[in-house]
Symmetry: C2
Subunit: 98 residues, 2 copies
């Protein structure tokens, strides 16, 4: 099993409504992409000033299943309409879970 | 419940033995810090060139329990000896999980 984690910093001016819409669109993906084993996301809680603004944490059986998710039209639609144009910085890791 | 995710880019020259030692030290924390509900970490699998090098994903009941972990001497020992001096970039988010 692998875990995929990704974080964003939003561009200046991205508002709470946009963040909520993004979380809603992302949370709808598990119903559309059966390769997703678990999926959570949400805005940063503000514990540290240096934190990024938003994160996704998801599990897949392996890299092939992650790639299916990454390239899935339902995921790409969210990336291209709600994330890509609104994100300043992004960082991601996929790692093996025991 | 909240999820804490953090990623690092290692400084140039950090070798596999160091990464393994860091993962081992981090994976020993749940036995020492009862506030940790779940804890996984590991090196990036290399799916994307732009990825960071290493990530941790953990769950806590709430922010107070996360802060207990963050400031716990066992965690701080790992941060100060195996992570801080060897890390070039770091990004983190804590978010609410339903």
């Amino acid at each position: 099993m692998i875990r995929h984690v990704v974080m964003f910093r939003w561009k200046e001016g991205v508002d709470d409504a946009h963040v909520r819409a993004t979380a809603e669109a992302l949370n709808a993906l598990p119903d559309q992409i059966p390769e997703i084993l678990s999926y959570t996301c949400g805005p940063d809680l503000g514990v540290a000033d240096t934190n990024f603004d938003f994160a996704v944490s998801a599990q897949f059986d392996g890299i092939d299943e992650f790639v299916t998710y990454r390239d899935h039209p339902a995921h790409q639609a969210v990336v291209q309409t709600l994330i890509g144009p609104f994100v300043d910085e992004r960082c991601a890791v996929q790692f093996s879970e025991r």
